[in-house]
């Protein structure tokens, strides 16, 4: 039984990328009452156009997904007709299939189809599909190189932080409201505005025109309070899929007032289907701009998340010279669902940054880091959480940080892991000598016990310190003597 077991290919690593990746394709469509062409015809058109564009670089084998057939990646081609606005959105989302290390990315384009002939509609949606496919490939292509590279050491390819998110939002189109009282929303008389708002709120529950007036007001009204009132009036209407949801998302994206944005978030939390996907993209966009994170930390791995985290770590709010600590904490929290390789690709340039004024510098607290959480400490912890090998380059980064800022967290990590090497031993001895750090002394003991040649060197250097009294007195001569003895015992 045991010998048979050995034959089971239990622990085969994933093969490195060689040749095109197999991509299973799924096509979905959403339509309301407005259907200028059969949704099935539109689906066919966007599928063909998107696949043609994505097949061009020759790195993907694209075929309809079939049950029971595993593919490396999964591509969802989704088309959505929106009533009233008469727009069509093409969304392409690619994510892991059998390749769990693949990133999840999405791109979208929206086009207006109002008053177009059948041929023009088809031409326009195909164009949108091609544009979305180009946007998707723009971010996917560079990341494919990383697939299959299971290595955890050395610098990973940087994610291009300058790249815009490939989700293009179409313009929001609201039909002109015909209800006569809508104009009173612009009245200079506050009482009159409020009375009109109440009336429209009630009427909008059953009529389209008052709803259009409220939607326009929520987006454009100059008075903050009225804008907020109009948005609140849309609550029951945004619970149903349709154009109102798109308006609420646009309010969230564009409104400068935080209370109005909070109301929009509250409504977006109840969206389902395509509206939910768009709401999530809006939350991601806001995070990439450092404007808030919505419920992102609760949602796990999402399309475009890697790129968003990089942008989030770099985003500066208006009037601020650099991202705040709180912002960095929130961005780092979004790493939770990512694999080690993906975390590494994101964090590496930030961990390497030593210039305090550099855009990628993560704030620490030097010697006080042990008692307070800092973006630096959390980033290091996030990187090490799923690491399966010790990266000597990370050791250099940590040591560099300790040297420059006396970062206690960096030192603690070096002491705790203490993967034996002559270089690390010398570094720890230096810390014992100059800082009298007990953790460094324990690291010296651990390395000395594990490797005999390091043990000899450690004992010699510690004995020298003991004899000359040439060390910082955070540790005592007796402490040094105890470690020398412990290493000697360990050697026997």
């Amino acid at each position: 039984m045991r010998s048979l077991w050995v034959l089971i290919p239990l622990l085969l690593p994933l093969p490195a990328v060689a040749g095109p990746l197999k991509v299973g394709v799924e096509v979905r469509s959403t339509a309301g009452s407005w259907q200028p062409i059969a949704p099935a015809d539109l689906s066919r058109a966007i599928e063909n156009a998107a696949l043609e564009e994505l097949s061009r670089p020759g790195q993907l084998q694209l075929a309809r997904a079939q049950k029971g057939t595993a593919s490396d990646l999964l591509l969802v081609v989704e088309g959505r007709l929106l009533d009233e606005a008469q727009t069509y959105t093409v969304a392409l989302t690619i994510g892991p299939g059998a390749r769990a290390d693949a990133p999840s990315l999405t791109a979208a384009e929206t086009v207006v189809l109002e008053k177009l002939s059948r041929a023009q509609i088809l031409e326009k949606v195909e164009g949108a599909a091609r544009a979305a496919a180009k946007g998707l490939w723009g971010v996917l292509g560079p990341q494919l190189a990383r697939l299959g590279d299971g290595t955890q050491v050395g610098p990973p390819p940087n994610l291009d932080a300058d790249k815009t998110l490939p989700w293009q939002w179409g313009a929001v189109r609201i039909p002109k409201a015909s209800v006569s009282s809508a104009g009173d929303l612009d009245s200079k008389d506050h009482q009159k505005r409020q009375a009109t708002l109440r009336e429209l709120t009630s009427l909008a529950l059953s009529e389209a025109s008052p709803r259009h007036a409220l939607e326009r007001c929520a987006l454009d009204h100059k008075d903050q309070e009225t804008r907020r009132g109009c948005l609140e009036a849309l609550r029951p209407l945004s619970r149903k899929p349709g154009p109102t949801q798109r308006v609420v998302i646009e309010v969230y994206r564009k409104d400068p007032d935080s209370r109005i944005r909070e109301e929009a978030i509250e409504q977006m939390l109840y969206f389902t289907g395509a509206g939910r996907s768009e709401a999530i993209q809006a939350f991601l966009e806001a995070a990439s701009l450092g404007k808030g994170y919505g419920p992102l930390a609760e949602l796990g791995d999402l399309p475009n998340l890697d790129l968003v985290i990089v942008k989030c770590l770099l985003a500066r709010r208006k009037g601020e010279a650099r991202p705040t600590e709180g912002q960095h904490f929130a961005c780092i929290e979004l790493l939770e669902p990512l694999t080690h390789q993906r975390r590494r690709a994101i964090l590496w340039p930030f961990l390497k940054e030593t210039d305090k004024n550099g855009p990628r510098y993560l704030e620490g607290a030097g010697e006080r880091e042990g008692s307070t959480g800092t973006p630096w400490a959390r980033a290091v912890d996030a990187l090490l959480e799923d690491a399966t090998t010790w990266d000597p380059e990370l050791e250099d980064i940590l040591w560099g940080r300790y040297q420059r800022t006396l970062s206690s967290h960096s030192l603690q990590v070096l002491c705790d892991y203490a993967v034996p090497s002559k270089r690390l031993l010398e570094r720890m001895l230096e810390v014992v000598q100059t800082a009298g750090a007990h953790c460094a002394l324990r690291a010296v003991e651990k390395m000395g016990k594990k490797e005999a040649n390091l043990g000899v060197l450690a004992k010699d250097r510690l004995a020298e310190m003991q004899a000359m009294g040439n060390f910082q007195k955070g540790v005592s001569a007796d402490d040094l003597g105890r470690v020398i003895q412990a290493i000697s015992r360990g050697e026997k």
């Binding site: 039984m1 029951p236 939390l269 969206f271 090998t389």
Partner: protein
Amino acid sequence: MNPTWWLLSLAIGAGEPPLVHYVTKAETRSWEPIALAEIEKMIEQAALQPLTAPGSMRLVKTGFGELKSGAYTLVINGRFVEEAELFSVYLTFGPGNNADLPSFYVAETTKALGRQSRAEMESRIRAAATSAGKRLAEVLAPRLESVRLQVGAPPMDDPGLPLVWGPVEVAPPDRGMKAVRTLVDVKNDDNQRSAAVAELTGQAFDQPAARDALLHCVLRDPSPRIRVDCVEALTPVARNHLPTQRVLLSAMRLEVADEVVVALAKVSQSFVGLSRLETLATWLELVAADATPSRAAESIADLLRKEGDVPNLDLAVSACLQQEALAYGKKRSCADTLLKAVPFPRRAAVAYRYLERAELVGTGAEQAYEATLEAVIGDRKNPTDPRIAALLVEVAGKRSLGRMRHKVLYHARDHAPATAATLEKLLQIAQEQRVAEPAVRAVGEVVDRAPELKEMALGGLEQLKKKARWLPQPSRSDPYRELEEVKQRLSRAR
């Protein structure tokens, strides 16, 4: 669960379709355009036709006294709704001698019957009964089949509630009274409308105009606070007035303000008879719906918990757990409160898809998942459903389950099937550092339950030790040490 598994299992020994006892009853308060005895025959015939067609049940008509002596029960109800001049059909399927299937409730309401010829009325009533019968048959067919074939009920994939609510209209309020005019014209400010509500409250019981104005307010007033006042003003009349009850239940299904839903739910607790069934169905619909505001969903779940095992509970809880809305706390109240009201043997079918598909990171989502797991994991008296037991090992491999994988692996130790396939899967999972320790421990516990797997496990652990890439974290336990301990323990075991 692989659907093939379920289909294949159907091939195993089949018995007779189960015996279902049924009764029919129609009622009205005052409006009776067709004699009730005729109505009963009409709806019985129309509803039973689609139910008998699949051949999945044997129906026997009984009185209420013998109803429970069959394997299952079916109650066919109908009632005229005065004022609105509608007719509603209700079909309730429930336990008799057997309690292994969920109860289901289906309702259908006709379009307005007023001013229609008798033939047209009959046609609409029959159509409503047939439609209700068809929907009940759709929900029941796979479950009755699973009883006949003696296999577990299939997991609930798309658990929509089988209810069609008829039109609910409120007569335009008679604007003769000043308070009615003030309340209905929402251009009046909140204070004026509040004062009007106070004035109308005392008249709602006797004056139809006051009642209609308050109902209009519940459905249309822009202020949630005033809507609550209107609901409370209607409390006395709502106890017995069927049209008012229907409007309030409809308002509850459309409302998005927490405080108004809670006020409506409070009033609806006093509804009895067939209205109680509609009330329970409305509560279940709210629990299942993505659009229901979070706090209100929690309150409703609490009310339902007190009702126990009611018709459509399984469908509603399953839909609630699978809902898409991102709002915090909605699933948790279903997992914590309502799933436990479902009898243990039925919980696996309710929770399976959620446990299989959930992706979670945040605390709220994890709490909901954990509560669901706790509810479906059995003990000696109630063993864990084998499909759930097998699922534990499947989902433990899903990275997207985050920290919850530790909990899943903890349960897998005692409940996952003690087979070579489970061992193989656990050893694969153990390659991942984050869950290596609980997975290795689970390997040891599975072998404790199936000692014949000892050699296989030892071989696998040896392979794992050689090839696993773990970097022990100082703040966590060392998976290499755990592996050694399990190996030693297994080697010592006879």
